[in-house]
Point group: C2
């Protein structure tokens, strides 16, 4: 943080943030109808501009390929007609959600007749730093607008042409609705210095949400003086208890691990109670093996893995701490619920931790003692998700304890103010 | 932040934080009955040890006087029998409050049968940095315990002997109840390095709450890598609108300014609409003058102040930005509600802003457009207070937007976890 930042870049970012602040004052006063109309106009504009957006995206893809970007990442970067239609449709879905602004969280009339109420209001200026998926640009802009916030976006440089094209379209749509273009800003230059300028724009930016890999998130948490909402690193465990229903357990383990491997709510670690190890591990490891999963474990696990025909690697301490985001799982046999709890306490990233058990006492202890955004009994870790929880949309999954914990929907993009109405009351 | 911290002090603070973490795991599982019994035992122990506590406090007072501490501060520092009884009684009051832990914030049964609920749980380890009032030591310890958190306290060095004595008594009472003494720790040595070690104990300490003057709070906000809840700097305004009831306005202005001057919810600035300036200012300035208030303003205000017999000082831009915490008020005549809103937007610290008006439209605009923890219509700014709001107890008043905004009671010392209970559900 002691390194100096190019003053031109600092000034550029400060200018964007000041424009966003100004815009946020208008956005905070918009009715739901106005915001929804703007969201629909943004969606229509994306549909209309589909060809230009795809052309810009083609440049990103060509540059990515020239730079040797892996095909998996090229695919995440790609926008085709169907994907542009889908991001536009996501904006229409956001328009269909209730407005969080104005919701009364609690309120009462005090003994002296004062009427007090705690009301949801926008946070103000929300910044997001994220990686290469251009759909995040549109999602973040839509969620920020619906919650009455201005947004400053910093996408991955690999998606820069796509993000520029998308933001031009979105800003044009806002202006067509009489709303300030500065409601949505993109920092599309300035490299690492621009990121640092954004992270230190305290007072100009109200909250910073990093979305991406563990390295990005840790760098932001470490360097930011703007309040941060930490998202989404998940070293999620499934613990199969002595009294688990082993059919349910197998389905949950396989689903948690293999349903989608690159996401934060995928399971990365399997703990099995010794009493059921010999009856459970052969079948589950065989099914994991047939899905292409590599098992990381100790010599005890190695025996089961080899018998099940699964790929095996000896597990180091780091293996148990890792968020693989791949077809890998660390596995351990534990002697007791206590040992399982201690293991989770040591390695958990506080995202999602699941127990499979029919034992009411074990379930109750798991729920009470595991310290995580989501604690589950007899369910796949994949359910920790704003869509699954019924929020309608999600800006990320918070793994911190302040402000928001777990899936963040529109409410989590608001703060509150206390409104106090009286008739001349004074304190005695 | 690049300066190095004495490694022994870092290790000492890390040791306290680790002990607190360990203790927090037990505290999180306590029933309300256990916590209330401990709070009552703490209160009884304070009553029993009153003489030792007062003897320790005498040493602080003698040292303070020898160091030339102002009598006002000596009075804030002082503990006598009545005050020890009062802090003990405050613990019994906390025992009487509902337990925030376990409260279900929201919940539902999803289409697939999963039952989800968002439940309040303790944050974990809460640290507080505060100044010279030893009653804060007991209040903070009590509120932390009731909300299931371990607490690490760093009081002002002027109160060090008092705080030591209090914490010894409180820890003894915890142990007598079978609870870990490490639930309450005091950092009573290490000077500035200890504060810096605490502010950078990210991962060991979950949240840091500074309570004190603007300098302390700004230093903590700037240097802390632990998430901070910013509290209590209040440059609170009262705006007397063109359509104010001037009797109510006078009572509200005088009460907001003079009821207690050293607190963050005292008014520091008065704005008066030009249409009522000549009918309002003479009487209100005379009453402020008779209460000993000095008026800070421009030449227009000077004329009114002199006619009212009030002490007057020309106001600089800094005067309008200042939290006086004394018998001073900045005053300005504005030509319109818009000008009042612009003034508040420029100078507000986001604490409490009041309008006095009988005009529904003006009140609605004030409520909607002022960005502060509390916005008031026809009420004294002094009402922004956890006790007044009915929270029963208050750990501080947050002026930030994330996690908590306004008076913080027990709920604000909690986070939530999602509990997901199923019967083998997996994602399709």
């Amino acid at each position: 943080m002691a390194e100096s930042i190019d003053p031109e870049i600092t000034a550029h970012v400060a200018g964007l943030a000041a424009g966003a602040r100004q815009a946020s004052r208008s956005l905070a006063l918009l009715s739901r109808a106005d915001k929804d109309a703007a969201l629909r106009a943004m969606a229509d504009a994306l549909d209309t501009a589909s060809a230009e957006i795809i052309a810009a995206n083609d440049k990103d893809i060509a540059r990515g390929r020239a730079n040797g970007l892996a095909e998996g990442l090229v695919d995440r970067l790609r926008l085709d007609e169907a994907r542009v239609r889908a991001v536009a449709e996501a904006l229409r879905d956001i328009a269909g959600l209730p407005d969080p602004v104005g919701e009364i969280v609690r309120g009462s009339t005090l003994a002296n007749g004062l009427q007090i109420r705690q009301v949801r209001v926008p946070i103000g200026v929300v910044a997001m730093i994220y990686e290469a998926r251009p759909n995040v640009t549109v999602d973040a802009a839509g969620l920020a607008l619906k919650s009455g916030n201005a947004v400053v976006l910093r996408g991955g440089s690999a998606a820069n042409e796509s993000n520029r094209a998308l933001v031009v379209v979105l800003r044009g749509a806002l202006e067509s609705q009489g709303l300030p273009a500065a409601s949505i800003s993109l920092i599309d230059e300035g490299g690492r210095d621009a990121v640092r300028a954004l992270m230190t724009a305290r007072g100009q930016v109200d909250v910073l949400i990093p979305r991406g890999g563990a390295d990005l998130i840790q760098a932001v948490v470490r360097e930011s003086t703007v309040p941060v909402i930490e998202t989404g690193v998940g070293n999620c465990h499934v613990y199969v208890d002595a009294r688990a229903d082993l059919d349910k357990a197998q389905a949950i383990v396989v689903n948690s691990k293999t349903h989608r491997v690159s996401v934060c709510n995928a399971a990365e670690s399997l703990l099995v109670h010794r009493n059921v190890a010999s009856s459970f591990l052969p079948a589950v490891l065989a099914e994991l093996a047939s899905a292409g999963v590599t098992i990381h474990g100790d010599s005890e696990i190695e025996v089961y893995a080899k018998e099940a025909g699964a790929a095996f690697t000896p597990a180091t301490d780091e293996d148990f701490a890792r968020e693989y985001l791949s077809l890998d799982i660390s596995t351990r046999i534990v002697d007791s619920l206590d040992e399982a709890l201690a293991h989770v306490q040591r390695y958990s990233t506080g995202h999602t931790e699941a127990i499979v058990t029919e034992d009411r006492g074990a379930a109750r202890r798991w729920i009470a003692e595991v310290d995580a955004a989501a604690v589950m009994v007899n369910a796949s870790t994949r359910f920790t998700d704003g869509g699954e929880f019924g929020f309608g949309a999600e800006i990320g999954i918070s793994t911190q304890k302040l402000h928001a914990r777990g899936p963040m929907g529109l409410s989590e993009l608001t703060t509150t103010k206390w409104v106090v109405e009286g008739d001349g009351q004074i304190r005695h």
